[in-house]
Symmetry: C2
Subunit: 279 residues, 2 copies
């Protein structure tokens, strides 16, 4: 017998319900409601303000796509800043690359980090590594105050653009990200489901364009995110010929989704139906 279902709404068009064996945690932080449940389909699931953020069983796709794509396309990645990402999954993946010397995680909600430390041991396994510094702070203010040209890669691992994540999708924010990146630096942001309405997706892309000349969207399957397909956008002001895949960086690491063969083409195979919505 299933005690109950956790239901997530998608634009009043779709509802997805997960059978839940038990609720492991429920609290209210200064920013959002936080819930951890044990789902039948995907194991433990972190839910913020009623929206599934990460699960034990499908998290690898999202975190591999956020971490390894920018690392493999940057000529010499050393210093990485993550905005959001309090579950630690991206940090864990970045630590597979010896070339990365310093990882800063700036998460607005310290309670998310604490809850993940308790319930998602695999996600957070890199947070105490000596290369990693965790700041509990507002990412928008943090990026604004960074010295000009101080990061090689900035990753925006935000929730959806309503609630605490909203300011991380604005033109002003992307401009200050561009300012904080070294010449040739790379931004990767999560940019929602390609199946969502074009006006919404184009709005996000236009805001990224306020800070960056080159946008290269890519996609991958995340079954617990809206409509099962997700997008990320790699953006840079680097010369166009810089964006080559250093495949060897993908060959030495352990992944379950992103292979070297996929990494090498990932920026060239975004689906036309999605790209058409962005212009």
């Amino acid at each position: 017998m299933t005690p109950f279902w956790f239901t997530e709404n998608d634009l009043e068009e779709i509802q997805i319900s997960y059978a839940v064996d038990r609720v492991l945690h429920e609290s209210e932080s200064d920013f959002q409601t936080i819930k951890v449940v044990e789902s039948k389909a995907y194991g433990r699931m972190l839910i913020l303000d009623g929206v599934a953020q990460t699960t034990d069983q499908d998290e690898f796709v999202y975190h591999e796509m956020m971490a390894h794509v920018p690392v493999s396309y940057h000529p010499n990645p050393q210093k990485v800043l993550i905005i959001g990402g309090g579950d630690g999954g991206i940090v864990r993946e970045l630590l597979q690359h010896d070339c990365i010397q310093e990882i800063t995680l700036c998460e607005i909600d310290g309670k998310v980090v604490d809850v993940c430390k308790e319930f998602f041991p695999h996600h957070v396994s890199g947070l105490s590594h000596p290369k990693v510094r965790v700041h509990i702070a507002d990412g928008i203010a943090y990026v604004k105050e960074l010295p000009v040209s101080s990061m090689d890669i900035i990753l925006v691992d935000s929730s959806d653009p309503i609630g605490p994540g909203e300011g991380l999708f604005t033109a002003a924010f992307y401009r200050s990200v561009a300012r904080a990146l070294k010449p040739g630096g790379i931004l990767v942001a999560q940019t929602e489901s390609p199946w969502l309405p074009g006006a919404f997706l184009k709005g996000i892309a236009d805001n990224i364009r306020a800070g960056f000349q080159t946008l290269r969207p890519y996609t991958g399957p995340v079954p617990t995110y809206q409509r099962g397909l997700w997008s990320w956008t790699l953006a840079t002001n680097a010369p166009a010929d810089q964006l080559v895949c250093h495949k060897e960086r993908l060959e030495g690491i352990k992944t379950q989704y992103l292979t070297p063969a996929l990494g090498q083409v990932i920026l060239d195979i975004a689906p036309p139906f999605y790209l058409a919505k962005l212009t």
Copy 2:
């Protein structure tokens, strides 16, 4: 106000519900219940025995992946047989290739074809083309009675392996498909969601291996199928070096998902988490 929701069950672990504006058709054939609804998220949706089969707005991914991958990997594709596929979507895509001379569609349920002719005009637009013959017949018997070495490509566009589709997932069926293919011929079958349990997916792969030496699974996003990611398996007894992409066949056609760049690598980028389940 939404009149109601259509809900689909996924292994008693997940339920997905679509807001429906109205029901356009409801009937019972000799094989299954048939329903057509107007959904808010994806437009018209064909539902057989309570499971979404195809929709106006996401159908292109599935049909492009079924049609264009085998056509581009076959050295000289001329005669194609489709088992199932009564909505006509694959036929429409195949007709983009001038090299294809004869398309036979063998659908068990004539009522599905009739309903699609009424409600899915874009899907069925190729069914009256002079290259196309439609047989309303049991695909298992049809393939068994085909002359040896009579087809270049056989496509199995079945529903899930319960109900009328069940026999299309057996070792005996795949052996008779292999027998009906010319030397170097290619099978593509839909092989369910990579996120489903390994024992289920391995069972399907093992049955295909009863007829074929070489299996090359590939994946793509279909939001109205379980967990948003789908798999297809290309199988052949051709020498390994035959399987090269004739990219030019993808360059002359209109698609919304499968680009030439993706087609060229599609057999090499199946995710490791999925491939691990098949062996």
